[in-house]
Amino acid sequence: MPSLQFPLRDTPAEAPALRAELRAFLAEAGRDWSPMVPAYSWMGFDREFSREVGQRGWIGMTWPKTYGGGERTALERYVVLEEMLAVGAPVGAHWIGDRQSGPLILRLGTEEQRREFLPRIVRGELAFAIGLSEPDSGSDLASLRTKAEKVPGGWKVNGRKVWTSSAHRCDFMIALLRTAPAPDARAKHQGLSQFLVDLRSSGLSIRPILDLVGQDGFNEITFDDVFVPDSMLVGQEGNGWEQATAELAFERAGPERYLSSLPLLTEALDDLRAEPAAPEAVGRLLARAATLRQMSLSVAGMLQEGHTPAREAALVKDAGNDFEQALPERIRALVDPARTPPQVIEMLGLMTMVARSYSLRGGTREILRGIIARQLGLR
């Protein structure tokens, strides 16, 4: 029963200069953001913002220069991510490409795929959606049924994907599809493959789904005989489950798993000064934030060394979700609505609603805890 280790990491020597650049950029970019922007942050979508981020070299930072990348370290990239999230920047138009689709293509894609996709992701021009969940396959992801059948020159895709964030605004999706029937119910992880799917393909329709805030954040995507060329298969046919699981380590490893509601603490802090219970509550939140930051940095360090810290990432995501989900409730307990500026009240209200998604997206709390329990040796 090896317990998970989280060795401390320092941020890189370049961090202070990088932060100064980012803070200047974000202060300017964020001048007119409504509370809705930080409330959604990486689930938000702003192509213009993403292009500006790309121009500054903050997308694909660790990728080879051949593909437009910056060849910088994973920890430098981490600094950029945490600065973006600390102010709740609307990073959704490049977030998925930078975090998981790009790294997947870089690791397992063909040379042609790398040349076609990576430079455009780096420039902030190509937005990716995640094609995992289906109407009948959520936590039990491997039970997914959207299938790709071999046809001359490519694959014919039929089925549905759901909860796909911003798909109606994105360009491509990396879809996990069934390319062979599972040999039996216990081996349903076999026969899955990953494809790059152009979201403007013929036969593909996207229906926005309003979330409980009333925003059109996510979607249902229907594939009706959608043709996907052979050249769009990513990695090995039939190896999709292993590939997607490794991708999930990237998806779960980042600071977006504890920082989602931090902008509310920043925004509300000055107005809490008269509240007698505020010092203790704020102190407890800060202690957790500082600790989660070290845990998250530790996982970033593991990625930097080329590991795939899937279990560590699951633990940090779960702990981070607890924190970011509790934060709006803690702030609510301190706020006197009569004496609090309307923008704070608005952000609190929005985050109270959006926070429900934190422990669902990227793997529910229960699934993550199942992963942690198996790591502990519980069967």
Partner: protein
């Protein structure tokens, strides 16, 4: 320092695995001083481990200390070694040669664990420090940890000095907070391991209870808290090595808060999973959980430390919150 740290951590782990067994813990709670354990710890040079080599010690830092204290917590070591290490470190920092034997560390409003066995007592209020040989001890007992907990009758000071500025006005409290946080983090590792073992062996409804999702979910949450406590403690030790105790007040406070919260949640979960057997005197679980509860209150409960760093953050304001959090271990940009 890392090689010496690893070596000592291993030595102390082995020593405590042998000597800090449930029988010794129970005897200590019935006033039997674990003499063999203490003298072997002395033989390893542990009481003076944080004293610089030129003053006769081993020259370990606070990060090393935190790692050792975590091991002591893991074994619920029933000796006041951590306190004595901290007291010797503070005395040496003020230029006072630490005496051999057990030096108790006085904290405001707290009884001294095993004070009756102390040859000396160090008090460090407001940046001053003094060394005493108490003339007597009013004997008491910890309500929760059940260890002897005594109040000194102070004699005249044998020596007085001033701590360097980097130790600040609360050095003893900060060292005590780091000690208690580290012990909680270690004890939590132990009870998590015990509980996973129990869940994998105890059968109900024809299978190990660890196979039930309800139990798995609880223990996974516990594992998250254990990991958080360990990281918070390591971060506090590193900060104290870099910036001195006073400069690490935020990280030490964070460690005490997170370890305290984790201790509460963790103890709750391990007892729930052990159910009735874990509530008995016979089962060793409480030898650890009672100490976790007690250490939560040592050197200031979570509430005190949270108010401290919360007040500071409120005074600085929201515009500085993130920058302050990220600048602590970074040199400012040129």
């Amino acid at each position: 320092m890392s090689d010496i740290r690893d070596m000592l951590v291993e030595q102390v782990s082995r020593l405590l695995a042998d000597r800090s067994d449930p029988a010794t813990l129970r005897a200590a709670e019935a006033d039997t001083w674990p003499e063999a354990l203490w003298s072997e710890a002395e033989a390893l040079g542990l009481p003076l481990a944080l004293v610089p080599e030129e003053q006769g010690g081993v020259g370990l830092g606070w990060g090393d200390a935190a790692a050792l204290w975590q091991v002591m917590g893991r074994h619920a070591a029933p000796i006041p070694l951590g306190e004595s290490m901290a007291a010797a470190a503070l005395l040496a920092a003020a230029g006072i040669a630490p005496p051999t034997g057990f030096i108790a560390l006085g904290l405001p409003g707290e009884a001294v664990a095993w004070g009756r066995r102390a040859t000396h007592l160090a008090l460090a209020p407001g940046g001053e420090i003094s060394l005493h040989a108490p003339t007597d001890w009013q004997q008491g007992r910890g309500l929760i940890a059940r260890e002897p907990a005594d109040q000194p009758v102070l004699g005249t000071a044998l020596a007085e000095g001033r701590l360097p500025a980097a130790y600040g006005p609360d050095a003893a409290l900060l060292a005590g907070a780091l000690l208690n946080a580290a012990r909680i983090a270690g004890a939590l590792e132990a009870v998590l391991d015990m509980t996973v073992d129990y869940a994998n062996t105890r059968k109900q409804f024809g299978r190990p209870i660890g196979g039930f999702q309800a139990v798995q979910q609880l223990l996974a949450r516990c594992a998250g808290e254990v990991a958080a406590a360990g990281v918070a403690v390591a971060n506090a030790g590193r900060a104290a090595d870099r910036r001195g105790l006073a400069g690490a007040e935020f990280e030490i406070a964070a460690a005490k808060i997170v370890a305290g919260e984790a201790g509460g949640t963790g103890a709750e979960i391990v007892h729930q999973v052990h159910a009735a057997i874990g509530f008995t005197d016979e089962h060793p679980l409480h030898l650890y959980t009672r100490r976790i509860w007690s250490w939560r209150d040592g050197a200031g409960p979570e509430r005190l430390w949270a108010r401290r760093i919360g007040d500071a953050a409120l005074a600085r304001g929201g515009a500085h919150l993130w920058a302050d959090l990220t600048s602590r271990d970074e040199e400012p940009a040129a």
